[in-house]
């Protein structure tokens, strides 16, 4: 199972966590 599916599922999580940080810190009022 440590294959492409596992990798993709985890990359999806990493991207999501990155997105959360970006959403939290970005000031949307200035844009």
């Amino acid at each position: 199972m440590s294959d492409i599916v596992d990798t993709l599922l985890n990359i999806e999580v990493f991207v999501f966590i990155g997105l959360l940080f970006w959403l939290y810190f970005k000031d949307f009022d200035k844009s």
Binding site: M1, D6, L9, N10, V13, L20, L23, Y24, F28
Partner: protein, 515 residues
């Protein structure tokens, strides 16, 4: 920055059949109906695919689920001690609608679903059976209680607390519609992307609630059936009685969807809660009181001593068997709470207007957790006493028929006919009130936050919930039910985390503006 209260808040006439033209409702009804039809046509196939997909998700994302729930607990702790704790869920001059005691009682009632009646003794003993193979039997007993308390404790309630807090804050203070997606629009403004995300969030909430409640219907029906078997000393009544119990349940909840019985439902739920509390006190007094109290005190110490560390345990370096146990219990429970989060969140938000964030979080996470420790200390402790002191055959029941364990314990106490009948009644009431409330919340979510969803919409959800429950009953397998629930609710973890970001960002802004 815009306020989401200018989005369609569902001003339609409640009886307006055009409400069925709402795309979210059509798609949500279609998805859940398809799952139900698939399950009716090929129950084993659905259960098998659900189990496989969940196994893949759990293997790859166990770390993420545990990290997410621990993060939620830490966010709750931080909000309580931070300056945000003083912010009110409502206008600054709003006062709480209910007294603190009745508020706490209602919180207990929300968490005291049929699950606690079902698992009160069965869960600690199932863990005991497993852990005793790895450590001594006496050590296993306290570890089994600890793990059970972990599953029902602070982590579970911080998932509910955060979801409820987001809904309460954005509904009462930011005046948004009571929808899961509304905070996204309020925080990030209304554009094509945020509208899609908000819409998807509402859809995922609907799917998670309907599958989660369907699973609880199945578990409740199994328990009522086992209670009747024991009451009338039937060896095995089979599917006939199960279907009869299910039909009776439907007959009981459909009228409640047509007539507005919200006050009556609250009374029924409180009655079920009172019966459950009465049973707990009865077991404590009529049973080996010193043994049970000793177990409770030890549980409190064990739980609060290690709860934070245990939240980060992923059992990565253990063998496959331990990992399977971890997936089928701890991870499944966490996603089960996630499945119920939008439903319980709406309920606890509605009763919490006027409370501060600090009061809200402390009440929601500590009150029910302490109650759960008492509950499992009494019912789990009584099971342990049967096993370790009386040497009874309770473990055989745990292995063969988990839904009959509570009744087995009650049979060893005086007045078993009365207590078993009370459990059957309480289980039945818990399911009826859950289904009626869930149909209301689903109707609200699928009609743009309308606080009075039409009778037709509520009835549609009543039918879907019944069908999903029936599918899970047909699977006749608790593990299959858990897998189907996990599959339906896993995506919602992403939504909750996004909502937490919305909350933290908006709180930061509110405090900055007020300065």
């Amino acid at each position: 920055m815009m306020n989401a209260n200018n989005q369609d808040s569902g001003d339609d006439d409640p009886g307006n059949t055009n409400a069925f033209l709402n795309p979210l409702l059509i798609i949500a009804l279609s998805i859940t109906s398809l799952i139900a039809i698939w399950g009716l046509v090929d129950t084993a196939g659905l259960a098998d695919i659900a189990a496989r997909l969940v196994a893949i998700q759990f293997t790859s994302r166990a770390w993420f689920i545990m990290l997410a729930v621990s993060f939620m607990l830490l966010v709750c702790a931080w909000l309580t001690v931070s300056r945000y704790g003083r912010i009110k869920l409502g206008d600054d001059d709003d006062e709480p609608e209910f007294s603190t005691i009745s508020w706490l009682t209602m919180l207990f009632a929300a968490g005291m679903g049929v699950g606690l009646l079902f698992w009160g003794t069965a869960e600690p003993l199932t863990h005991y059976d497993y852990i005793a193979e790895y450590s001594g039997s006496r050590e296993a007993a306290s570890q089994a209680l600890f793990v059970t308390n972990f599953h029902w404790g602070l982590h579970a309630w911080s998932i509910y607390a955060l979801t409820g807090l987001v809904i309460a804050y954005f509904s009462f203070r930011r005046k948004c519609p009571s929808l899961v997606g509304a905070p996204v629009l309020d925080t990030f403004g209304k554009n094509r992307i945020t509208c899609v995300v908000a819409w998807m969030s509402n859809l995922l909430a609907i799917v998670a609630i309907s599958i989660g409640v369907g699973g609880s219907i199945a578990m409740g029906v199994f328990q009522v059936q086992d209670g009747i078997d024991r009451l009338f000393e039937i060896e095995s009544s089979g599917m006939g009685l199960t279907v009869l119990v299910f039909v009776t349940l439907c007959v009981a909840y459909f009228p409640a969807l047509v007539v507005d019985l919200s006050r009556g439902m609250a009374k029924l739920s409180n009655a079920a809660m009172a019966v459950a509390c009465g049973l707990m006190i009865y077991i404590l007094i009529a049973g080996p009181t010193h043994y049970l109290m000793g177990g409770i005190v030890q549980s409190i110490g064990d739980y609060f001593g290690s709860v934070l560390v245990h939240g980060f345990r992923t059992f990565t370096f253990f063998d496959e068997r331990v990992n399977n146990w971890f997936q089928s219990w701890t991870l499944t429970y966490m996603v089960w709470w996630i499945a119920w989060a939008p439903f319980v969140g709406v309920f606890i938000a509605r009763i919490s207007r006027g409370r501060t964030i600090r009061e809200f979080i402390c009440g929601v996470i500590f009150g029910p957790t302490i109650f759960s420790i008492l509950w499992f200390g009494v019912f789990g402790g009584a099971g342990m006493y049967e096993l370790l002191q009386n040497g009874s055959s309770i473990m055989a029941v745990v292995r063969e028929n988990v839904s009959g364990v509570t009744f087995f314990v009650l049979s060893s106490f005086p007045l078993p006919l009365l207590t078993i009948s009370l459990v059957i009644v309480a289980a039945f009431l818990f399911i009826v009130t859950s289904v009626v409330s869930a149909a209301f919340v689903l109707g609200m979510f699928s009609s743009a936050g309308d606080l009075n969803p039409s009778v037709q919409i509520k009835l549609s959800w009543g039918v879907i919930l019944g069908a999903l429950g029936f599918v899970m009953i047909l699977s006749d397998n608790i593990a299959a039910i858990k897998a189907i629930i996990a599959l339906g609710s896993l995506p919602f973890v992403f939504v909750i985390l996004l909502l937490v970001v919305c909350l933290l960002k908006t709180l930061k802004k509110e405090v900055a503006i007020s300065k």
